[in-house]
């Protein structure tokens, strides 16, 4: 029998034992996404523009020399001047003050509406995708029927019934809008629930609620954020549309859509009155859309190469 002494077991060629030491600090998903977003110049410009618009909506009315509802009948339909920076409307109200107050309403509707939609959509889609089978079948049939009802018509009907005002408007806009995100979440959850970490969580005795809330939803958060950035502008759009046909925000409150609606008949004579709210809508939508594109590239792991 061979003698097995110690020096036969000598360590060779492993001097640099620190080869697998991680040199750079670990970065999380969010840090990585932020790094990618920062590289995307267009998205960053959009983000800055958005910040400026939101900042002005918050503080712009205090910068203006006039209150948004103050009327000055001697200065009707005046173009931009040193006194009224964006001009005045048909009641001599300062457009600079009004456009930021209107922006508050438009953006608030966009954000609140989107949050409600996301909440409902996540719960509904999450449940349908997680439980599968008959529950999923029934829930998705309901969604299918809701989706094939034209969105705007439901919104118009709802706002006729609910009356006018910001709260009613948000409910009207959300009433069927959640189906889009519900479908996305359901698809994601169906895909994710087969993954190993969900199996592990279940094996450890996690309840359905916990699996949905702690494992499935966080893993779909990228999709949700992208959806948010495209959904807020569609709310602003829809609000503008409703206010434009006279179903949205009512005086003395105002929104970008309501301002545009007021200015539209006299556009040929006083173009600035339509251009101010329209430009505000366009810039906000443009920023959200560009930012959404950037976020999709930054957050979607499948696009990374």
């Amino acid at each position: 029998m061979m003698e097995l002494d110690k020096d036969k077991f000598k360590i060779i060629g492993c001097e640099n034992a620190d080869a697998d030491v991680i040199v750079r600090p670990n970065i999380t998903y969010w840090q990585d996404a932020w790094r990618r977003l920062k590289q995307n110049k267009i998205a960053m410009v959009a983000l800055v523009m958005l910040c400026i618009i939101i900042f002005m909506c918050l503080f712009g009315p205090y910068l203006a020399k006039y209150k948004f509802s103050d009327q000055d009948m001697s200065l009707i339909d005046k173009g931009p001047s040193a006194e009224h920076w964006f001009g005045t409307d048909n009641l001599g109200r300062d457009l600079f003050a009004r456009v930021w107050i209107g922006g508050r309403v438009s953006i608030a509707i966009g954000i609140v509406g989107t949050l409600i939609e996301i909440l409902v959509g996540c719960i509904y889609g999450g449940a349908a995708g997680y439980f599968g089978g008959l529950v999923d079948d029934i829930m998705m049939r309901i969604v299918e029927i809701i989706v094939s009802i034209p969105y705007m018509i439901v919104v118009i009907l709802a706002s006729i019934v609910l009356g006018k005002g910001i709260g009613a408007l948000i409910i009207a806009l959300c009433i069927t809008g959640w189906t889009g995100i519900a479908r996305i979440i359901r698809g994601q959850v169906m895909q994710l629930k087969e993954s190993e970490y969900v199996l592990a969580a279940r094996a450890l005795g996690a309840s359905s609620n916990r699996v949905i809330l702690k494992h499935l939803i966080p893993n779909t958060i990228g999709e949700i954020i992208v959806y948010i950035s495209f959904d807020i502008p569609s709310f602003i759009f829809a609000e503008a549309f409703l206010s434009f046909i006279g179903l949205g925000i009512q005086p003395p409150d105002t929104s970008w859509g309501a301002m545009a609606s007021l200015a539209q008949p006299k556009f040929q004579f006083y173009p600035h009155e339509l251009m101010v709210p329209s430009l505000a809508i366009c810039l906000t939508m443009l920023s959200f859309n560009l930012l959404g594109d950037g976020l999709r590239d930054a957050l979607d792991p499948r696009l990374r190469q």
């Binding site: 009802i149 434009f244 046909i245 556009f267 939508m285």
Partner: protein, 315 residues
Amino acid sequence: MFRYILKRLGYMVITMWVVITITFFLMNTLPGNPIEVEMRKLPPQIKKNIMHQYGFDRPIHERYVIYLQNLLKGDMGESISTPGLKARTVIAERFPASARLGLQSVFIGLIIGLVLGILAAFNRNTWIDYLVIGVAILGVSVPNFVIAALLQQFLGGIFPVIGWASKKASWFAGLKYTVLPTIALSFTSIATYARYMRTSVLDVINQDYILTAKSKGVPAVGVVCKHILRNAILPIVTILGPQIASIITGTFIVEMMFSIPGLGQYYVESITNRDYTMIMATTIFFAFLFIASLLVVDLLYTVIDPRIRITGEKR
């Protein structure tokens, strides 16, 4: 295939029923009877007669059944603000203008959008590509009332900004009235189609079967038409449905701004007038249009994508 169509038709009927039911109960449980408000000063007997004529003296479930029966017979009720005016007549008179506008803008939107998308994809990362992306993003960021206003301002000298040809005028004679509204309506569609088509063509170009086709020696035109376009057009068909919806709602604003005697303008008018029967009738009609076009789109999908004919489901 036959079963699939039958199933879709079944869904369509259910959806229509849901829409009708929701519309009916929403409009009829509104606080404040529309007639009550207008007839406040009339003697009670006349008021009673009018209420009877519109059926408001019956309980709501009875009215619902009667409404459904009438709908099946094609009777959609009578206007409240213009007594004697049948909803059916209004729709028959006003729909052709809306339909023309809608069809034209779907057509223009599809053609221009697809061409732009294909051009962008085949010239990736050149100025053409960037231009198309720019147009696409601008198109979804600018509301159509802004586009309509700009068109009226800058092209108003070349084309009429308001009005519509008389009914007797030929298709061609009325064309000049449709130019600006059609552009205003199709702008968003152009942007959406161009964007989707670009992504979709880029997806397809990198597929293995394109390489196979090329290496087999299929001429370039054949590869583009038979392999690339046929496959790339599939995702476009799925967004046709939402696009049709956006065109329908777009007509509300565009018809209003261009003073076109279409159904969309009438719809907005009846909302302002609180003419409940007309709101109901037009809502149901628009919903029917939308649901029917979704059905057509789905059937179109089976024609374009042979895989569906086998499984009966979308990918």
